[in-house]
Amino acid sequence: MQQWLTVDRLILLPLVVVVGWLIVPSVAILVYGTITDTPPAVTPHFTVETFARAYGRAMIYPSLLNSLIYAVATATIVLIIGGFLAWVVERTDSVVRRMTDLFILAPILMPAVLLVSGWILLLGPRSGLFNLSAMEYFGIKEPPLNLFSFWGMIWVGTLQELPLAFLWLWPAFRSMNPELEEAGLVSGASMFTVMRRITLPILRPTIFAAWIIFFIYSLGALSVPLLIGMPAKIFLFSTEIYLATRRIPTDLNLASAYSLLFLFVTVVGIYAYRKSTADAARFVTVTGRAYNPRLIRLGRWQVVVTAIAVVLLLLVAGLPLVVLVWNAFMPFPQAPSFNSLALLTTKNFAAAINYGPAQRAVVNSVVLGLGAGVLTTIIGGLVAWCGLRLKSHGRSVALLDQLSTAPIAIPGLIVGVGLVWLYLVLPVPIYGTHWILLIAYVTIHLPFAVRICASGLAQLHPELEEASFVSGANWFTTMRRIVVLLAAPSIMASILYVAMRSFREYVASIFLAGPGTEVFSVLVLDMWEGGNSNILSAYVTMVMALVAAAIVAFYWIGRRMGVKI
């Protein structure tokens, strides 16, 4: 496709500039923050003082250790359970198969804070519904289960990432040629031996790659450390970064110094990830084909396997949701009973609607989410197209690929800190506006948009585009009339995914949202810290209903347009 020299340059160059601008300065500024001890927009004073202060204190190391243990445990457990679920759904005749959609939708539907607060409302030591019920029922004085512990954190952290783990592993099971396993069975190996000697080794790179990703996710998570860790006096590294920016006076320099180490750990992780996927050709898993594998008949195990899967589904999506809705209608935390039904009230909803910036936050989140969805998909789609079609521009394309996947290694936390710095230093007046949030959302979700669009575009035979060029159509006509329409399902999926993830994004938003630019997810955190969990419940319930309706509408419009999502 070299003949499109001019068009190539017209697209590649601006893309590299745009993507480069999103990624590089917001990370580079952290170095600047670390080697100075002056706040942004002040004549910088260069010093090693900040670095020494950050890593000279003994108390940071236990936090670091906590973070590592938390991330390793969460990533490991979530993959084991997620892998089990993916296997059940893809390879067995379990009835759970039909519930897959729920699992895919749950993580994009629920705000991160919801699951955590749901579990606190359930297992909190003082007012957790389970503990209240248990104490009442068994007549015990002490709450039997305390969520505010390290294991409580890992438990909720695992459940929080479970749907995503499922999403990561499911395609691997799906695109793995079942004949590879069948060849093993035919050779005389048992189901278990095939699993151990064929399936797992083949999926090893995928599993390892997923582990790294979830390790990084867990390191960068903030909801569990803030909502469960802090009250339990268990500090993680991410908590320290957050606190450094929240203390008065705020210490962005310290936050930068911490972020740099954080970044170092994730970059090492991503390096390992790249190494593991580099020789992926050896592992014949991802062929882009969907097979129709012979399903394993569970027989007697049907009940057990299905029960486990359903319980997991309930733990992840069902229970917190029920607790939340229950609380939304209660005047104060209350164990469910027939007596408490008398207390049912809708006051919380009225209170939530009138709670400060509640309405504005929802509007902001919706607008920013959709904006980020469309913008990220445009950039990500073009990046994906260049990666697939402009192989002749090897170096620029490789650079573009590395830049656009870099945010996987940059937790939202760092994007948040980096952007605050950057736009306080630069004379671009977007700090404190919606734009800075939009930039954050695009940056954070770019790798996902690229991934989703690339998987769609990879299905399109290049000759479909070449046929259009040869017919006399130029680049834009070809994109508009052939590529965009044929890749429409992926493009819609990418918009929806990024919009939803942006909607529930809170880690970067915490640093960037301010008066007038409040967003839903951060406001929920504020409400939680404000202490009224019943108004919060009502608020979240309403917004969830709204979002669910929006998704249904999105699907409906998609169908009407003849796009299957």
Binding site: Q3, H461, S471, G472, N474
Partner: protein, 368 residues
């Protein structure tokens, strides 16, 4: 007319530098059907894609009709969408989100040509698909998709038609049928056609002229008959049809224009058309399997030249023919002579048969 001059292109893979086109010069006459034939990786598809404008040569010149489409010297590189060509792709590349009509109408629409409806229906009628105009491509068979691709390629009346292994994805019966139709359509439309294939049968039956390609070079350019009957190189002889290749040394000739007597591992072989070969020259002989005839009884042989007794190593019944491998006397290295006889001629393994090769069927090849 398509003219290629000193066309070169190489690219680097991870392990090596590959020369896809090595100084290729060629002229395809107007209205003719020209085929690029060669094994995979010989550069034939690269050449076709360069003519289409989908790839760019490093060096050289491409002329399509009266226009220079590419010239490294003049810095000209007309993009694919302005070369005015029609192309049928290996995968057909029928757009699945458009109807058959829309697919065929696309070139006319983007080139802003008038009478779209009429021309599309004409093109569809030509490939006998006018009744399916409102269908979507996904509802059509491979053969039908192939016809749409052809209709789309010719609808805007391009200067040249480029076909990239268009029959390779069809099953055997359909392929033969489409082959006949393709030749038929080209006879009627008389568009200058450049065709790429690795299938020698397709090449022989469709083409006016064929270029045999190997490692980015033209090995031989000639008409199908010439290539089959009088190949000049071992590569061509082996690539087109099957061939027995024998090394030998010229012992002497019946005069300067006469037959040559050639010493080979299985004895003396006479060739009626040895060209300029002189005594003591090392030569490579080439004999088509179907030209080797069994000798039944002593009668009817015009000469005793080129008659041998040999043993049947193996025999295969392939329907209309019987394919044999014969071991010739005195041959120690295990090499055999392949021949193709009528199916009625029954033999058994190990049996001794006598064969005769007419000296006019023994050709000398240039060193490949």
């Amino acid at each position: 007319m398509i003219g290629l001059t000193h066309l070169s292109r190489s690219f680097r893979t991870e392990h090596e530098a590959v020369v896809a086109m090595d100084d290729l010069t060629l002229e395809v006459e107007s209205h003719s059907f020209f085929t690029l034939l060669g094994p995979s990786g010989c550069g034939k598809s690269t050449l076709l894609r360069c003519v289409a404008g989908l790839e760019t040569p490093d060096f050289g010149e491409i002329v399509i009709g009266n226009n220079v489409a590419f010239s490294s010297a003049q810095g000209i590189n007309v993009p694919a969408n302005r070369r005015h060509i029609g192309m049928v792709f290996q995968s057909y590349a029928i757009w699945p989100h458009m109807t058959v009509f829309k697919n065929v109408a696309f070139p006319l629409e983007v080139q802003r040509k008038p009478n779209v409806r009429e021309r599309v229906l004409n093109a569809l009628a030509m490939v006998e698909l006018d009744k399916l105009a409102d269908r979507y491509a996904s509802q059509l068979s491979g053969g039908q998709q192939q016809r749409i691709a052809f209709a789309r390629a010719i609808v805007a009346e391009p200067d040249v038609l480029l076909l990239d292994e268009p029959l390779s994805n069809l099953d055997a019966a359909l392929r033969e049928q489409m082959r006949a139709e393709l030749r038929n359509l080209q006879d009627r439309l008389r568009i200058t056609t450049l065709y790429v294939t690795h299938d020698q049968e397709e090449a022989l039956s469709l083409s006016d002229r064929i270029a045999i390609m190997r490692n980015g070079r033209f090995v031989e350019i000639a008409s199908p008959e010439e290539l089959y009957n009088k190949p000049k190189t071992v590569f061509t002889a082996r690539f087109i049809g099957s061939a027995n290749i024998v090394e030998g040394t010229v012992k002497g000739r019946d005069g300067p224009r006469g037959a040559a007597e050639i010493a080979t591992p299985f004895g003396t072989v006479w060739s009626a058309a040895p060209g300029a070969a002189t005594a003591e020259a090392d030569v490579t002989l080439f004999i088509r399997p179907e030209r080797i005839r069994p000798v039944v009884g002593e009668a009817g042989l015009p000469t005793d030249r080129n008659v041998y007794s040999c043993t049947v190593r193996s025999h295969l019944f392939v329907g209309d023919n019987r394919e044999l491998e014969l071991v010739l006397p005195g041959v120690k290295d295990g090499s055999t002579m392949r021949c193709k006889w009528a199916a009625e001629f029954r033999v058994s393994t190990g049996q001794t048969v006598r064969i005769h090769i007419d000296p006019t069927d023994v050709h000398l090849l240039a060193d490949a």
